[in-house]
Amino acid sequence: MTNGTILNSKLFRIFFICAFFLVVATFSKSAVAQEKAPQGSEKKFDPQPLIMEHIGDSHFWPMAIPLVEEKLLPLPVILYTDKGLEVFSSGHLKDGATYQGNYYTYKLEENHIKVVEADGKISETIKPLDFSITRNTISMMVSLAIIMIVFLSVAASYRKRPGKAPKGLQSFMEPLVLFVRDDIALPNLGVKYTRYMPLLLTIFFFILLNNVLGIVPFFPGGYNLTGNIAITGVLAVIILLVVNFSANKHYWKHIFMPNPWWLFPIMIPVEIVSVFSKPIALMIRLFANITAGHIVGLSLICLIFIFRSFAISPVSVIFVTFMDCIELLVAFLQAYIFTLLSALFIGMAIQEHH
């Protein structure tokens, strides 16, 4: 069943389009890298810290456009040290300042909170675990809140008008829900699809919304959540757990009892690697696609500052507009692929016959 689904023409077309745009994205990225290369004089603008600052996480929320006006909203810092919990505002750590906490003195170095010893040096031994509410944490909470509000209200309108045609937000969301059900869950999971629908729908809309919000340059967007390895890693681990906890005996038999017995020493390690490689592929794919898109977009914007000329801005704007269109496609495509492959892996683990 699954083979037939993968090989059908619709999926092939989607994969083909995806591959095409990935190639395009890679080319434009390398072109930007070449243009960035010469950085001789000290007056030259270096886009790398700016791009990395955007791609990565931060203890501050940027309130205004970077480079034009520096305005950062401090966020709460939560540290788990060996002596206990520390909670304070990241505003205390602004511009490399040190902060005397309850147990240690802290300093922000390269976006990481480090413990400063009495002699002013950064401690190598004491490394507190950082559970701070960072920019990505807040944006994740905001996006999850948006998803909750949207779908709880959609559910309410289903309850209010049972059996009627969808209306408003409901009619906007219903095709997407049906898409996940009919094109992702049903063909891959078969009759047992209802059990996995909540997970697939939540993952699909979470990735889709954050991909799209990542393209938006201002609140509530302007971050890189689905291009963060921690987020994609959490999603991949959830899929790994769901796949292996819902697997039936055929799946385990396939891993631990390959058909000819003399293949045991080769096949068992291969199969065990494949168990982990599938979610790792999910994690890397989403992370790399979204991060690459953000890097390309920002690099194109940075061209204006690299050349220190307004004349280049139309070129940048045209390229960025083009990139944003591709990103919009990638946003949907990556959400689709992540959900589809999750459904496929679960389907492979629960199917009855090989």
């Binding site: 559970f131 509410i133 559910a155 309850r159 219903e174 909540p198 390895i229």
Partner: protein, 164 residues
């Protein structure tokens, strides 16, 4: 490398928040939404099949009606034919019966007439006989009033007897 090192804090918060949202949405959003959609699909499906069935039933009824009408027409024709036949038969029977009855009555009348005639003839014969006897008596009485004539006759008769 910084970019591919997951931050423990984000992993923690992402896991917690995602699972909470998954549970809440699973219970209060996805289940009602999917149930409502599949229920609506089922109702649409059943409505369509019901419409199809109604259409078929309608067609069946129409053809049945036509059939019935045709049958009724045939039956009516047959009844009419039978009625006509019956009428003809009854008329013919009545005619026959009338003829037979008429013939019988005529026969009876003729017999009666014959009888009456015979009775009347017998009566007339009797009357003629008695009248003739009376007349003969009267004539004889008149003729044999005087003795001489009687004697003459007797003598005459006797003469005839002698000749024999």
């Amino acid at each position: 490398m910084e970019l591919v090192t997951p931050a423990i804090g984000l992993v923690f918060w992402a896991t917690v928040c995602f699972l909470i949202v998954l549970v809440i949405l699973g219970k209060f959003a996805w289940k009602p939404i999917l149930n409502a959609i599949s229920e609506r699909e089922k109702s649409i499906e059943s409505a369509l099949s019901m419409a199809e069935a109604a259409k078929e039933e309608m067609a069946r009824l129409t053809s049945e009606n036509d059939e019935l009408l045709k049958q009724a027409r045939i039956e009516r024709d047959q009844i009419l034919k039978e009625a006509k036949q019956m009428k003809d038969m009854i008329v013919n029977e009545a005619k026959d019966a009338a003829q037979v009855e008429g013939a019988r009555m005529l026969e009876r009348a003729r017999l009666e007439i014959d009888n009456q005639k015979a009775i009347a003839m017998a009566d007339v014969k009797n009357q003629v006989a008695s009248l003739s006897l009376e007349i003969a008596e009267k004539i004889l009485r008149k003729q044999f009033e005087d003795q001489k004539k009687q004697d003459a006759l007797v003598a005459d008769l006797l003469r005839e007897v002698k000749l024999k």
